[in-house]
């Protein structure tokens, strides 16, 4: 019995089909559907881990700083 297509996979795959089907073969599209299905499953595994509101992404954003007239960091926009 064939697996039932995952609706989430199908929705995402449809975006690829709409954007790029003209340049992809049927075989490549089939392969992409499998890759997207893997991504959907991976995303579910990520979402299954409980995090709290305080868990920030492990990346740092640094605000714009300008050199102060005395040298070093400081100021910001006047």
């Amino acid at each position: 019995m064939a697996d039932t297509p995952d609706p989430e996979t199908e929705v995402l795959f449809e975006i690829i089909r709409q954007r790029y089907a003209a340049r992809l073969t049927a075989e490549q599209l089939d392969e992409l559907r499998k890759i997207i299905d893997g991504q959907v499953k991976a995303a579910r595994a990520l979402r299954a881990v409980r995090l709290t509101n305080a868990d920030e992404p492990s990346q740092r954003f640094e605000p714009l700083t300008l050199p102060s007239p005395e040298g070093g960091r400081g100021g910001g926009l006047a």
Partner: protein
């Protein structure tokens, strides 16, 4: 000068140069000849930089003769993975659409190695775009599948394929590779080399092809751990052009005769499903290390979706880094069939999923930090198998074999250093390897333990049959 000199460790070559028993030009000529003559056998080389190398070598000879010795890399030839910008040669990223790409500056790593006096001889082959489009077979570079010097029907590993093959076949004494998700450890393991993946931020990425800004790392590959540490000392350091670089310094003079006793953890399940020779050689390596290490087995490795997390980040950052290539359709010029279309899927990674993976990196780091409260390093087979056949899809190569806990994804997600070292041979006469992974900025300790192991063994001194 005997060709035997080609196989000497970097440290010994440096001493021969310093004492003027060997001239840098002579040494460069020897390696350049091999790069031109033998390099094509392995599909290991993209560009031989003969004129550039001889110019640097002549300068090294003149400086050493005048008493200005820059250090242990002065006059030492090397090769760089072809994702590092060099003003004097094309930088192809291993990919046909970029064959004619030129930069008018040198990557920070290239510049730092020049300051150390090293002699850049060649740009080395790599998997196209460092594997960011999802390659599934060795033939994934416009230079062809990189052949393993230990067996002509086997692959050298990826994505630092040429760096692995070139060092293993004596085309250069050391090479620079890069790792996002296993690309230094894997070719080092498959080619019987020492490969040192540094802590994220230890080495500047300025001028290196970006695949994943939060995962990419540059590191050395050589025959010995001592050589890797010597090279890392020249590469490492804060760089204003790469804001991810850390201010921690890395210095290396020599490994101690006997390092302090190390507390090593063997993660539970890391040898259960590996190839039998991989397991046997790993057990022998543990026996060798026993005099300087307290080894604890069956240590629980934190349970997280390591693979899905690293995959999601690579998909999202890689598709963003190469958005123009994908959207323009030029991605179809890539070599590997999977790479011609696989990258499109990355364009669909929802921001929430990417950020979820990035959020998970914090609890992942906390959990791994707990392991390092009790142990200095984790030790495991580098790879579950010997090198893949050069003509098969990866999925068809060794069915049923797996490596247990996802240590390579975990180490990369947490930005941790790791050192791969050869420990014997397995199927098809191919090298096997084990890896030490420690907390951030523990490269020195890993290299001390690795160098001691290599003083008790000779795997790193052996040569491929036809090289």
């Amino acid at each position: 000068m005997s060709a035997e000199v080609l196989w000497r460790p970097v440290r010994e070559l440096g001493e021969l140069l310093r004492s003027r028993k060997v001239r840098a030009v002579e040494l460069a000529e020897l390696y350049l000849d091999r790069l031109e003559r033998i390099g094509p056998r392995y599909n290991a080389v993209v560009t031989v930089m003969r004129d550039h190398a001889l110019g640097q070598a002549r300068r090294a000879d003149a400086e050493i003769a005048s008493g200005r010795w820059r250090g242990p890399l002065h006059g030492i030839p090397y090769g760089a993975k072809d994702l590092l910008a060099t003003a004097g040669a094309p930088t192809t990223w291993g990919a046909a659409p970029y064959r004619e790409q030129h930069f008018d500056f040198d990557a920070t790593v290239i510049r730092k190695l020049e300051v150390a006096g090293a002699v850049l001889c060649a740009k080395l082959a790599m998997i196209e775009l460092a594997g960011g489009m999802g390659y599934r077979q060795p033939n994934a570079s416009f230079t062809g599948p990189c052949i393993n010097p230990w067996a002509p029907d086997a692959w050298s590993g990826g994505s630092s394929s040429g760096s692995g093959a070139a060092v293993a076949s004596g085309l250069v004494p050391f090479a620079i590779g890069s790792e996002t998700w296993g690309s230094i450890l894997s070719p080092a393991g498959y080619c019987g080399l020492a490969g040192l993946r540094p802590t994220y931020g230890r080495v500047s990425r300025h001028g290196a092809m970006a695949l994943c800004w939060t995962l990419d790392k540059l590191g050395p590959m050589a025959r010995g751990a001592d050589d890797c540490a010597l090279v890392l000392a020249a590469m490492a350091g804060k760089d204003p052009r790469d804001e991810s670089t850390a201010s921690e310094t890395f210095t290396w003079s020599a490994a101690p005769a006997r390092p302090a006793r190390a507390r090593l953890a063997v993660p539970k399940g890391c040898t259960e499903k590996v190839q039998p020779p991989v397991r046997e050689n790993f057990e022998k390596a543990l026996e060798v290390l026993a005099p300087i290490a307290t080894i604890t087995r069956d240590v629980e490795w934190p349970d997280f979706p390591w693979g899905p997390a690293v995959g999601t980040i690579v998909n999202a950052e890689g598709a963003t880094a190469f958005y123009e290539l994908l959207d323009s359709g030029k991605v179809t010029e890539l070599t590997c069939p999977a790479d011609k279309s696989g990258g499109y899927s990355g364009l669909l990674t929802p921001a929430v999923d990417y950020l979820q993976a990035m959020r998970l990196r914090r609890p992942m780091k906390r959990a791994v930090a707990k392991v390092f409260e009790s142990y200095e390093a984790v030790i495991s087979p580098t790879r579950a198998t010997v090198a893949y056949p050069a003509d098969k899809n990866f999925g068809d190569a060794y069915p049923g074999i797996s490596g247990g806990p996802a240590l390579i994804p975990a180490g990369n997600l947490c930005g941790l250093p790791a050192l791969a070292m050869p420990n014997g041979y397995g199927d098809n006469g191919l090298p096997t390897s084990f890896a030490l992974m420690g907390p951030a900025f523990s490269e020195k300790r890993l290299a001390e333990v690795g160098a001691w192991y290599q003083r008790q063994t000779d795997w790193h001194l052996r040569r491929p049959p036809d090289a």
